[in-house]
């Protein structure tokens, strides 16, 4: 199959050169749409993010270089530290609640022989809803008066909570919505990974007298170690970018208890008109997230072969 092209290119006949030129022209003809789209909407914004954080943009004249002034402005902001603490707390809580549960759910689902299709459908249903719908629905559930959650709590004679209105419960309320919306993704990915574990391993472990929990610990977890690690990193990167929950549920309140880094970035740009400050926040977040992305890249490259 290669004879024709290989021989042609080795001899470099005028025909081959012309053909090569034509092939390249056609290829770039096909590529030009993608190059334009990536150029304008991916590559240029990536570069611009760096420029933005060192500039003052006022939309009238050309942007002005201001050095590190934008960074100074945002760091001196009282909400800055709070935003990072909230983002870290949100990510941490989301991991505590949302990281182990999908794995456990997947392990249990994998053992069932009935209603599998139904359970898989149901667990992924919230993922399919537009996030704004899920968040607005939960906003109603969190209503301290007729909201569903307080009604359930009072039916079972537990003290009711003020959910989004209290500094102590607002952040965890955000985590709950986010977990409900996203549980299905992890569950289905783990389920696919579990199905690729050879059953011989379980048989061997059982012959050695390993109990159920020991089988999970010594067979299931080592066999899914890579995917567990990848999902951990991806979840950290995804949850650290949380925006829609504070935007729609609390507006950052009460008393900055739910201001996250991306929400603060949004506020800088669209409430204060300070795109430079927003850009500085974005760049700081990017550097933090890049650390996790780099680990992720390393892990997946090491395991490629």
């Amino acid at each position: 199959m290669t004879t024709m092209t290989a021989r042609g290119s080795r001899r470099r006949t005028p025909g081959a050169v012309r053909r090569g030129l034509r092939r390249n022209l056609t290829a770039y003809g096909f590529l030009c749409g993608a190059l334009i789209c990536f150029g304008f909407f991916s590559w240029y914004p990536m570069v611009r993010e760096f420029l933005l954080s060192f500039q003052k943009t006022n939309f009238v004249g050309p942007p002005e270089w201001v050095g590190l002034q934008n960074f100074q402005t945002v760091i001196e902001d009282s909400a800055f530290a709070q935003a990072w603490i909230n983002t870290a707390a949100f990510t941490g809580l989301a991991l505590v609640i949302g990281y182990a549960i999908p794995f456990v759910v997947a392990i249990v689902l994998n053992e069932l022989r009935h209603a599998k299709g139904y359970l898989r459908f149901v667990v992924y249903l919230p993922v399919m809803l537009p996030p704004a719908v899920a968040v607005l629905l939960f906003k109603w559930f969190y209503d301290p008066g007729p909201g569903l959650f307080n009604q359930i709590l009072s039916t079972v004679n537990l003290p009711t909570l003020s959910w989004l209105d209290s500094t102590s419960t607002a952040l965890i309320s955000l985590v709950l919505v986010s977990t409900w919306m996203n549980l299905g993704t992890g569950t289905l990915i783990y389920l696919a990974a579990l199905q690729s574990i050879p059953s011989e391993l379980y048989e061997a472990a059982e012959l050695d007298g390993a109990s159920l929990l020991r089988r999970v610990w010594h067979v299931t977890i080592p066999q899914t170690k890579l995917i567990l690690l990848v999902m951990l990193l991806l979840q950290i990167v995804a949850t650290m970018q949380v925006f829609i929950e504070p935007y729609l549920l609390t507006g950052g309140g009460p008393e900055d208890a739910t201001v996250t880094v991306v929400y603060l970035m949004y506020q800088y740009a669209f409430s204060f008109g300070n795109f430079g400050g927003g850009g500085a926040l974005g760049l700081m977040l990017m550097i933090v997230l890049m650390v996790f992305s780099a680990i992720y890249l390393r892990v997946s490259r090491d395991n490629q072969t």
Partner: protein, 334 residues
């Protein structure tokens, strides 16, 4: 926000080909392989963490059924009940919805709240906008990404590897981080100076700049045997013709996956349209509802949410298989 990124495809780099692999040409090999794979599947069907033997004892069977029923009830309560509450909340009058304790079944089945939501919020306009954005994004994504992936996979131009690496590198950039520069870019496009805000282009074109789709498509095209394309070439077909009549028909499964992902991610997206489509007439449905949510009675809002989620649920119901294939295509093998 967490995980939405995965479903619309970010940093994940699959290493396992999709189940649908283009025909290899030799029927013998495939048919030899098939029974073996089936047997493996069958065996896996009967063996997980718990051995089939212990499941067959009377005690094992009782435990199994207790666990199964508990899980079905629990899952229904957690994932379906909120949706039931939303749909029935929209059937209640504004007095009934504020009542404490709430009624489990609405006292009357009255769909007028839905009609009210449809008229008051102009949901028709929002829905139509969403369809236009999602449909256009789908067409642009396919037209742009399929041709690009084909060029990178089969025509292999000079610097093709560099272009591919640059495209894949965008997967490592968290999307929220470049939100502001991307907004400024569409507000005044460099060189051209166009303002794309409040036009459909602002959704369509960035949707096509998706490294994950390029990656999925290119990997699939790479697995198409060269002989097939060369045979067409000898018959005198040009590159466009080969793409259209040889590559595309074989690639239907991967194009299906990319199509679903493209439509669903535009349908679900909130932050980007919130910024770039500030005009109330141009908003897609989730942004539109969110922008009016504060001024609406609770039951009308719930009706609007139900209407906004029906298309998503229907799409999921119909394309469940492709959606789940797309999800696992985006994950590593364990």
């Amino acid at each position: 926000m967490s995980h939405t990124v995965q479903s619309s495809g970010t940093g994940v780099r699959p290493d396992r080909p999709l189940r649908a692999v283009p025909p290899r040409g030799d029927g013998g090999g495939a048919s030899r392989r098939r029974p073996r794979r089936n047997k493996a599947l069958e065996r896996r069907e009967f063996r997980g963490l718990v051995s089939p033997h212990s499941l067959n004892t009377p005690r094992g069977r009782i435990i199994y059924w207790i666990v199964l029923v508990t899980i079905v009830v629990f899952f229904t309560a957690i994932f379906v009940f909120p949706l039931y509450w939303m749909a029935t909340g929209a059937l209640k009058s504004s007095e009934e919805i504020a009542q404490i304790p709430p009624t489990f079944f609405p006292t009357s089945i009255d769909f007028s709240v839905y009609a009210e939501a449809w008229d008051q919020l102009e949901l028709g306009t929002f829905l139509l906008n969403t369809v236009i954005y999602a449909g256009g994004a789908w067409l642009f994504t396919l037209a742009i990404d399929v041709t690009a992936a084909y060029a990178l996979s089969k025509l292999r131009p000079v610097l093709g590897k560099v272009v591919l690496a640059l495209m894949l590198s965008t997967l490592m950039i968290p999307p929220m981080v470049i939100l502001l520069p991307a907004y400024l870019t569409v507000k005044e496009l460099p060189i051209l100076g166009w303002n794309l805000l409040n036009t459909p282009w602002v959704i369509w074109l960035p949707a096509a700049a998706n490294g994950f789709f390029i990656f999925l498509l290119k990997r699939f095209f790479d697995s198409i045997p060269r002989e097939l394309l060369e045979a067409a070439q000898i018959d005198g077909a040009g590159s466009v013709r080969i793409l259209w009549s040889v590559v595309l028909p074989i690639s239907r499964p991967i194009i299906g996956v990319v199509s679903i992902l493209a439509v669903v991610s535009v349908w679900k997206d909130f932050v980007w349209p919130l910024l770039v489509l500030p005009d109330g007439e141009k908003m897609p449905i989730s942004v539109g509802i969110a922008s009016l949510a504060a001024q609406m009675p609770q039951n009308v809002l719930m009706a609007a949410l139900v209407i906004a989620s029906i298309p998503a649920i229907v799409v999921f119901f119909v394309f469940q298989r492709s959606i789940m294939a797309g999800l696992t295509a985006g994950s590593l093998k364990g």
